[in-house]
Symmetry: C2
Subunit: 720 residues, 2 copies
């Protein structure tokens, strides 16, 4: 719908830009000028290559073919480009029926795992957000990417992607010129077509230049606009589509802007994250929680980012579902967590800063208890959530060998963050940041409180009162009022507002000169003199029974679309010709609780006698809370099962003539295609146990008699 | 945050502007010029007054006090104005924890009742929508309200509301002048303050003027901008805030606008309804459904309307949750529904057009079977959904005496709609349109197909092929090609495109003149002569094995926020001083499946021995899928139960010293405050049956021994 630069996305680029995790985008802008050039390890090159190899196998270790999987997902309507009949809009996708069911199931598990498990306080806030809020949070000024324009054809180009693509293409050309075989991996036919324009030329580079390029690529996330512009100039990078050098990079704010109300005067944005709505409600939530700390709020909803050139399917989109938790914790006392004991033995792959700097990407698992004890993870609360995130991903059915937690580098973090770890999932696009878990310190509550005057803090009754030594001021009210007359209130307010350092200096002035001079706006010339008969300034001790503090926030932030996509890749594999048909057919081995539909009901044929049984079983399953779908199309049973393997339906019930006679049914397992046969109640009981995760297919197979009948044949075996 | 006109919303205004129901807004704009002045019954005046009286009672028949209820809802954080610490934005609300749980439960019941029950195909589409789509649907041009500006203070005023308020105020003044007592009902303190400016003046009007005013008010929804402007001029209406006449009304489009992508060239809007995303996917969905008709798609998501001056809390907001169903049905064969039998005895209050025109507002219930049979409701499919909507609202716990279905007047409907009924719920704001159910005919699919060329239609294999008689054209290809040479293709295409009427005329020409002349763009002078040796035009019969048609759409469209608010009002009542405390205390008697939390767990005191039992029961309930919450605060048991009555928690378990001894617990019923006592398993079983709706409290009370102990006392009775 508009002309966009055609550079192909590579694995490494995705890693660094997600959600609040978009602190990453945020912070890239937030911190680029301050931190750039500090982080120079050229490790990601090696890492990328290794990742690419690893990611190319399916659940069953087969070579992974993304094009085949994508076409299956489109055919089965997991998701599809939005507004496609109007030509589509980049970065917008519709979820179809199985995609919606998958989303619903993921969110249901998420709510149970996090919100219900810990009595989190869920809030639902609008995406429409007035400018003021996002000014305070820093998004209006700094939530931006660097963007160039091609002066010839008007192409809009994301500067860091541009530099990365050009240099990678040159390095590839160098390798070809040196006779090193470069394996081209292409997924999307569209990309392939575009790629032609910027085809790799086999040009050998000097060794020194290769080194320079590799170093630039290693720290590509750390350049600001000016520096990216300088690189483009220095290395004479041209847009392959036009042969022209793009214009200098300018900051492009990623928030969608709109006007609220009919006057057009109230500037608003679509929120880039759900977090701010939660922070603004902090005082009400604390109240709702009867002033008890710690507690967490949670929010599920759409967020919006006007990406410059979104690619990589569901992994970088302009409207996406986020689920965010803000856990409020007392900053004093080491941020302990009362349930840390329960998770301390959970083992994680933790790629900390030091490991990354050492160029390593694979480390052994370590228990979170140990990681917190040795300081790898900053505190118990952060560690608790890392473990809980891991358990959540495990529950969804993410491949255990494809999860890691990567700590943000110092210059990659938002300036206010104390520590930040991303749960990354490995896919054919590389390691994808799917969950961010940041310790945001007291930043957000502090800035909003400062801006609005709202008390976004906790008042805690102290068991043992504390004594505070401080400079106190007494005024002789009897003389003070008559002396200052109408200015009295202003002068008094100015005195009250004096900070401790200033009071100390004034006490010395008073002792030395018998008077002090203070600034009071709007009284006389702004300077007011007060003599010692009106005022006393003394150092005294005071007892405090309450303590006020602004909580720190630990924020696990989930990109649901990214999790959903990775989950699909992790559970995808193909079945060869052995089980009917010649082509390899796709299977999605979702765990039953996640699967869009749990049970497929297939009649052997369109025979009338099957219909009441189908209806009966369908109602039975519904009353058990198990979603099912009938496929009574005229396709062969094998074809109908294949279709549902592609949809990830874990179980199938065949209704045949035997069923009509004796109410027995066969139950089929998606993954093994094995079948058992038993009476209705036994089958239903087995299904319920499988769907609720209480049993595995292996258990069911042991307990119930196997069924070996051909799928399209009339079963003749007697089961009883 | 901006200056808005201060007129108070009255009941009648809300009725007519909701969701797709916003076809109402839509259609008011769509149809106003064509239809205005046709609908003149001055009935709504009487209706409004009667409604206002009826709505002022609670579930228990007490006088309804909205201010008290609102303050309770805010205190318990059901919902709260968004961005309140920044001063708030009109028409935007946050849902707090109980509000979120209520929303989740309503949506869960909705999904089971509609989507799962009928295997509807759920889709999830973005709110961001490119302009083209909404141009085709008619929203860009016509989704607007009429807006005036006060030239003195810049106030922005919604024209129809302005006229209505001014005239109502004058009629009130007239009544006062005539000595008729007018009861002022004020709910919101803010409104009260503002109202002062436009205070009612007791001025007697001529009888003829009163009649004119009443007639204008009766058809207030039907005026277009020019007519509203003329009324303002004619009756010299001034903005009470300034004493100045507002500027002539201009159309204000209610969609939020934004630019998609970095170039700013792709104009977009936030969708005003979820329907369009579903229509655009029609071909894919039909495919997914294996070409089987009828079927339905469904969508749940936020929609956006930039209301000129939103008021009335959750009832008119700028961002709101919608749930929409698009049921696609063959327009031929009377739109039968295969499951109509199942609902035909459901009885509804149906306020059809004739009844409304006769000025009646209360009619007896009638079975939907009868209503479809006698033509009150147009067809079975529409009737089926009206009954299903009714059953859904009943399931949620809506007051049965406060539901009615009101048919749209002919001039109130969108021009493409065949019929439209609103499910209205009675509240203190009057009758509120909560669900719209329209027969949208083939309008949307037709316009999108026409615009994009996408085949948004059904191809149906005919069991009995049909024969079609038509004018067919044969060309003598051997001569034709050489004769026209390079123009051959163009001429042939022009011939193929000839419509039937034209062919008939040409056949006559050919017979008469031995040649025909047709228009062919780009060939010679645009006219081409063809002689009879090249062409034959004959009337012949042809056999068709398939039939193509564009389905009609029956659309039930749910405004979830409005349903939620009405549900709260319907279930609200107060408990007097009898049960502890002096003030009347609020209770929300939600049915257990809807209630935000199902069970409150209260320990008698903070005694250590209670803690393991609380944890144990809490885990037990969770494993049953029953949400619970522990309140171990230091407040008295009575206070803690009161708090949870306000939250609508239906059941309470008290853990006391007896529980520690013998593992028996008391179970309390929110509505009666009665308690029973039994062992753990019995209590859990009772809870599960109550929460799943299998039992009522009366059943449980009969089966289990009553517990009469004082709430704060140590129970001494032996149960076993």
């Amino acid at each position: 719908m508009r002309s966009l630069c055609s550079f192909v996305q590579t694995a490494g680029q995705l890693r660094t830009t997600f959600a609040r995790k978009n602190t990453v985008i945020t912070l890239r802008a937030f911190t680029a000028s301050a931190h750039c050039n500090k982080y120079q390890a050229p490790k990601f090159q090696g890492q990328k290559q290794q990742d690419a190899i690893m990611a190319t196998t399916t659940l069953k270790g087969q070579p992974f073919d993304r094009q085949t999987m994508d076409s299956m997902l489109r055919r089965r309507m997991f998701y599809t480009p939005s507004f496609e009949i109007y030509g589509g809009v980049a970065g917008l996708y519709d979820y179809g029926p199985p995609g919606c069911a998958l989303l619903t199931n993921i969110m249901d598990i998420w709510r149970k795992h996090f919100v219900l498990e810990e009595d989190m306080l869920e809030v639902d806030c609008p995406a429409l957000t007035p400018e003021q809020v996002l000014k305070t949070s820093g998004h209006v000024e700094k939530f931006a990417d660097w963007m160039c324009k091609d002066p010839k054809n008007g192409d809009i180009i994301r500067a860091d992607h541009f530099v990365e693509e050009i240099l990678e293409s040159r390095l590839k050309g160098d390798k070809e010129a040196r006779g090193v075989k470069v394996v081209e991996k292409e997924d999307d036919p569209k990309k392939k077509k575009k790629k032609v324009k910027g085809a790799v030329e086999a040009v050998k580079l000097d060794d020194a230049v290769v080194k320079e390029y590799e170093e630039i690529l290693a720290k590509i996330d750390n350049y600001n606009g000016e520096e990216l512009g300088a690189l483009i100039k220095k290395y004479e990078m041209k847009n392959p589509a036009t042969g022209v050098e793009p214009s200098p990079p300018v900051a492009f704010n990623l928030m969608f802007q709109t006007a609220i109300g009919p006057s057009g005067n109230l500037q608003g944005y679509l929120r880039p994250e759900t977090a701010q709505g939660q922070f603004l409600n902090f005082a009400k939530l604390l109240d709702f929680n009867q002033q008890q700390m710690p507690f967490a709020s949670a929010s599920v909803g759409k967020s919006y980012r006007n990406e410059i050139s979104p690619r990589a399917g569901l992994l970088r989109v302009r409207e996406f579902l986020m689920a965010e938790i803000e856990h409020y914790v007392d900053p004093d006392g080491g941020k302990k967590h009362s349930r840390f004991e329960e998770v301390k033995d959970v083992e994680l792959v933790l790629l900390n800063r030091e490991t990354q700097l050492a160029g390593k990407t694979h480390v052994s698992k370590v228990s979170i208890g140990k990681a917190v004890a040795d300081g790898t993870v900053d505190n118990e609360t952060l560690g608790y959530f890392l473990a809980r995130i891991h358990l959540f991903l495990e529950k969804l059915g993410v491949d255990q060998s494809k999860i890691r937690f990567r700590q943000h580098m110092a210059n990659e973090m938002a300036h206010y963050a104390a520590d930040c770890w991303d749960a990354e999932l490995q896919t054919s696009y590389g390691w994808i940041e799917c969950v961010g878990c940041a310790d945001r310190s007291a930043y957000d509550l502090t800035v909003h409180a400062k801006k609005t005057g709202a008390p976004l803090m906790v008042r805690e009754r102290l068991d043992t009162p504390i004594t505070i030594e401080e400079w106190q001021i007494d005024l002789d009210k009897k003389k003070f009022g008559p002396f200052f007359k109408k200015d009295g209130k202003n002068v008094e307010a100015a005195i009250e507002a004096l900070p401790q350092e200033k009071r100390e200096a004034l006490a010395q002035d008073l002792a030395a000169d018998g008077k002090i001079t203070i600034d009071v706006d709007g009284v006389g010339n702004g300077k007011v003199e007060i003599s010692k008969d009106l005022i006393i300034i003394e150092r005294r001790t005071r007892t405090e029974n309450t303590r006020e503090f602004t909580p720190n926030v630990i924020e696990p932030s989930f990109g649901i679309g990214r999790i959903l996509y990775s989950l699909i890749e992790h559970n995808y594999w193909t079945r060869g010709g052995s089980e009917g048909g010649d082509e390899a057919r796709g299977v999605l081995s979702f765990p039953p609780p996640v699967a869009p539909t749990k049970v497929l009901l297939v009649p052997l044929s369109g025979h009338e006698s099957f219909k009441p049984l189908l209806k009966h079983m369908s109602l039975k399953l519904r009353s058990l809370g198990v979603s099912s779908r009938v496929d009574d199309s005229s396709a062969s049973i094998g074809k109908r099962y294949s279709r549902n393997d592609e949809l990830g339906t874990p179980l199938g019930i065949t209704v045949d003539f035997q069923s009509v006679k004796d109410k027995t049914y066969t139950l089929r397992d998606r993954d093994s295609t094995k079948q058992v046969r038993a009476d209705e109640d036994t089958i239903l009981k087995a299904i319920k146990a499988l769907v609720e995760g209480e049993k595995k297919w292996a258990d069911v197979e042991k307990e119930l008699p196997a069924f070996e009948g051909q799928e399209a044949e009339l079963p003749v075996r007697e089961e009883k």
